[in-house]
């Protein structure tokens, strides 16, 4: 987030009254400019060259302008009833900053893509000027006292409607973003979303939303799953995005399992990918692939359970040293186990040890799953929309994720979850209070490993082949990063982290080579500035900010661990 120093008080007082008209003018210009043509070149950025027929980016700019007008009118004008709840001044500042940034990048994009500043038509300049004016105005608006949003209530049906609308927006936003093939458009769309979200945070809308969602937790859950369920139907039979989406789900499932170990029990596991790998190898070697090495071919549901149990057994073995070692040492032990797993899979090829895994070549040609007459490889048509291979796996994985979330949330809100928190807080005291420290740690490993094993068996079929180099240390680090980035111990955080880490590289191909570099940098910066992650569990946030008394007081009201 860019911080812009505040304008001196005297200037604000002197020019404050001008802010409102100036802001309206800016927003108006932004909208008007966006209706005009931005670029002479119709080839770039999805054609922005036709006046009064705005392209996608222009619509985004108009949306920002409209939002700014709403905020201005809430500050002074017909919408003041809204203004007494929302912190319009702060929101406007955020919005204006991002709008300005948005327009600046648009101009850069046109310049770069079309080759030269000359390609920008007056419309582009007008919109940019509007953004500048809006920005200037926003710096002059004075913040006001607002009422506590905890008391802001709408009728129940309206609140539910808000949740549904929000979920629908997420659904179509995601589908739209995935459909963008141009990296500039994608980045600009992300900027729009970020800008709007930050505006929402500043306005207090998200706080209010937090209250609303706690009031209607089940609606939120249902809506979220409905959205996830509906997603394949927006793809119109194309499997390209579903392939990515199903990978995100597998990654998220594994990350969620790891979150039990790291986020809840507070044990750092650097070899977690081995559990996913164990499941995948079980799935592969017990499949009907010609390369499978195990003769027993039970129904898939049995294979899943076997995979889960094999993983859980490994988890038990890896967890056993927790009796003796803890902290960093444990992390290294798990790292060692991860390497042992990978090397063993690499070596068990008949040359060095029994032939179980075909060594580095892995087990390829794993057939698609079939449940009865339902073959996951086929395209099925539902409601007139064809759903191809990856959509089928997507639905299966969605069920798995739902199950994992259930396990995660329920364990967290039980006696066991309290035990884990106690261990994280003060292991010695927890033990002195009769908490079964060792047992709970082992349990975390076993449950986490079991869930990853389940995901692994599906991954084997979804991926068609299983090879040892899919289960290297870097993958464990990625899983961990998803948790760290999203927020330890929260479900939403992990989902967001998984989406960011798996989706962005696919969409931002021009970063391809710098991806890992940025990933490393991101980890360092996150630990430095926001160690609790984007969606922080309240308690985790406190743990990472031991000295922050203010935060502790602020958080006290809603500590009752809302995991969603």
């Amino acid at each position: 987030m860019i911080r812009i120093p505040n304008i001196p008080e005297s200037v604000v007082v002197k020019h404050g009254p001008k802010a409102w008209p100036l802001g309206l003018a800016g927003a108006g210009l932004l909208i008007f400019g966006s209706l005009l043509s931005w670029s002479f070149d119709p080839q770039v950025l999805g054609d922005l060259s036709i006046s009064f027929n705005p392209g996608a980016l222009q619509i985004m700019a108009i949306a920002q302008g409209l939002l700014a007008i709403i905020l201005l009118l809430a500050d002074k004008g017909p919408l003041t009833s809204l203004g007494q709840w929302a912190d319009t001044a702060l929101a406007l500042r955020a919005l204006a900053t991002w709008a300005l940034l948005f327009m600046a990048i648009v101009l850069v994009a046109i310049t770069v893509e079309a080759g030269g500043l000359v390609n920008i038509e007056p419309g582009g300049w007008i919109a940019f000027l509007g953004a500048v004016l809006l920005f200037a105005a926003s710096r002059l608006v004075l913040p006001r006292e607002t009422r506590d949003l905890g008391h802001a209530r709408l009728p129940g049906w309206a609140e539910i409607l808000v949740i549904v609308a929000l979920m629908a927006a997420i659904l179509f936003g995601t589908a739209y973003a995935l459909g963008l093939s141009d990296a500039w458009e994608f980045v600009l769309f992300l900027m729009l979303v970020t800008g709007v979200v930050i505006t929402g945070i500043r306005a207090g809308f998200l706080t209010w939303l937090g209250h609303v969602t706690t009031r209607h937790k089940h609606v939120l859950m249902l809506a979220a799953f409905a959205v996830a369920f509906l997603f394949p139907f927006t793809q119109n039979g194309s499997d390209a995005n579903m392939s990515i989406a199903s990978q995100v789900l597998i990654f998220a499932a594994a990350a969620m399992g790891l979150n039990i170990v790291v986020g809840l029990a507070g044990l750092l596991d650097l070899g977690y990918i081995a559990f996913l790998g164990a499941g995948a190898y079980v799935g592969a070697t017990m499949s009907t692939s010609a390369f499978a090495t195990i003769g027993w071919k039970p129904p898939f549901i049995v294979v899943m359970l076997v995979g889960g149990c094999v993983s859980a057994t490994l988890g038990l073995i890896i967890g056993a040293p927790t009796l003796r070692v803890s902290g960093d040492y444990l992390a290294i032990v798990t790292l060692g186990f991860g390497e042992i797993f990978r090397l063993s899979m690499f070596n068990l090829d008949g040359n060095n040890g029994p032939n179980l895994t075909h060594g580095p070549n892995g087990v390829p040609a794993i057939p698609d799953l079939t449940f009865g007459s339902f073959n996951f490889g086929d395209t099925h048509t539902l409601l007139g929309i064809p759903l191809a291979r990856f959509s089928n796996y997507y639905f299966l994985l969605l069920v798995l994720i739902a199950f994992i979330i259930l396990v995660f949330a329920r364990l967290n809100n039980s006696r066991i979850g309290r035990g884990w928190v106690a261990i994280r807080e003060d292991e010695k005291a927890a033990e002195a209070m009769g908490v079964n420290v060792f047992g709970l740690k082992i349990l975390a490993f076993v449950v986490g490993a079991f869930l990853a094993g389940l995901a692994g068996t599906i991954k084997a079929h979804q991926d068609v082949s299983v090879t040892p180099d899919q289960y290297i240390f870097l993958e464990s680090a990625f899983l961990l990063a998803a948790i760290v980035l999203g927020g330890m111990g929260t479900v939403a955080g992990v989902l967001i982290g998984a989406v960011i880490l798996k989706l962005l590289p696919e969409k931002l191909r021009f970063f391809a080579d710098y991806r890992l570099l940025l990933f490393g940098l991101l980890l360092v910066l996150m630990m430095r500035f926001r160690p609790e992650g984007l969606v922080a569990s309240r308690r985790r946030q406190l743990e990472f900010h031991e000295a922050d008394e203010e935060l502790a007081v602020r958080v006290e009201g809603d500590i009752a661990e809302v995991v969603i």
Binding site: L406, V407, R410, L411, S414, R415, I416, R418, G419, V421, A422, E425, D426, K428, A429, A430, E431, A432, M433, G434, V435, N436, V437, L443, V447, R539, L542, E543, E549, A552, V553, V555, E556, G557, I559, A560
Partner: protein, 279 residues
Amino acid sequence: MTVTAEAVAAKAPAGVPLLQAEGVVMRFGGLTAVNNVTMSVSEGEIVGLIGPNGAGKTTFFNCLTGMYKPTEGSVRLSGVELPPKPRAVVKAGMARTFQNIRLFANMTALENVMVGRYCRTSSGAFTSIVHGPKFRREEAETRERAQELLDFVGLGKSTDHLARNMPYGNQRRLEIARALATDPKLVLLDEPTAGMNPLETRQASDLIFKIRDSGLAVVVIEHDMRFIFNLCDRVLCLVRGETLVEGTPDEVQSDPRVIEAYIGTGTDDEDDDEAGDTP
């Protein structure tokens, strides 16, 4: 209102003291921190443990509660020998507080006490996930009991406060509530009034009496002589890891050796043995 456990373990045979520590020796390398200390506590008794800094009081506590494995000697509760494992000790009916408060700082008061119920509940992972009948029953019981204990120690209104945000005195009370949540027959309090003002100290002694009155035995480590002599039925004075005197408050108070120990050794040991808490 009662805080006693509902028949946690079989009642001790008549005549056998509740807690019996015999010949407890604790050596760290060449240093003998506790040397052949014997102590017994009967039901409903409040026993004080005094001694100058570094006398081995907290180390002795750690030996009793299984945090340390005594080099020699045995600890029996209701006649049953306790293994040197904190969890087993708590389960058998002995709970403690810490000299420097060790609450779960980022949990609320209620959650802290609920953790204390851990060893008296047994819902496993499965029933927790499916919200089986056992889970629901135990969860409701745990919550109810925890609230009851908060009321008992006078924190009924701080249920949802974070432990780290609570005032010092209340943290001490919360720690006691957490210990009581394990349904003990005996609680060990390590300097429950350290750093308290006279008013808080009086409230603390009221609370200890209240605990005793509900049928529990209490062992207290304290520096505040007046507090201890008012409170205790019996006092044990440790000096350099050994028992110097044992007797009624009056006896101990008037024993010249105790006075000498306090005056004579007051300066040579600055560190209390809490530092050795995590070896």
